[in-house]
Amino acid sequence: SAVISQKPSRDICQRGTSLTIQCQVDSQVTMMFWYRQQPGQSLTLIATANQGSEATYESGFVIDKFPISRPNLTFSTLTVSNMSPEDSSIYLCSVGMGTTEAFFGQGTRLTVV
């Protein structure tokens, strides 16, 4: 299994600012993912963080709003840019392949005021 450290665990931010969330894995992994969970909703995939190339975004998510970095096989960041109250959510990073078990970080609970 993988141990994933995500920080910050929670934050309260002013609208119009940006927040960068970090995700550190205890072993090298090929695939890392970022998910969003809006209040009372299920999890939705934002993007796949690719090492050495741009992230692959899902429909409805764009790089300008959610820039992602993946400098190596153990680390990734997600930035939530120019935040509005609608960005208040839990953001989670995940690792795993399609044929193996996926694991999640502890999540970042973001509140935008």
Binding site: F33, S42, L43, L45, L92, S94, G96, A102, Q106
Partner: protein
């Protein structure tokens, strides 16, 4: 793309009761997982079960891949079992998980 549906959406139990949560998926999958989300938002892995049956204490799960469903059984429920239970599936080797809408379980003392 693959669709994942969970039922029931909400469930209220008395402590000690048993329950069954269901997850239907619309296509063949090579990964099916069950998670429990705690009040702090953390997802706890319960089972990785693309097929077959597994048990872990009071919890067990069965996936019948040919009929495209999975069941999570909770026996002798405790108040600490309360929370949201998600199933999630991937269609291919992409690693992308598609989540169901969850079952919110409340266990009353």
């Amino acid at each position: 793309g693959i669709q994942v549906e969970q039922s029931p959406p909400d469930l209220i139990l008395q402590e000690g009761a048993n329950s069954t949560l269901r997850c239907n998926f619309s296509d063949s999958v090579n990964n099916l997982q069950w998670f429990h989300q705690n009040p702090w938002g953390q997802l706890i892995n319960l089972f990785y079960i693309p097929s077959g049956t597994k048990q872990n204490g009071r919890l067990s799960a069965t996936t019948v891949a040919t009929e495209r469903y999975s069941l999570l059984y909770i026996s002798s429920s405790q108040t600490t079992d309360s929370g949201v239970y998600f199933c999630a599936a991937t269609l291919s080797n992409t690693g992308k998980l598609i989540f169901g809408q969850g079952t919110t379980l409340q266990v009353k003392p």
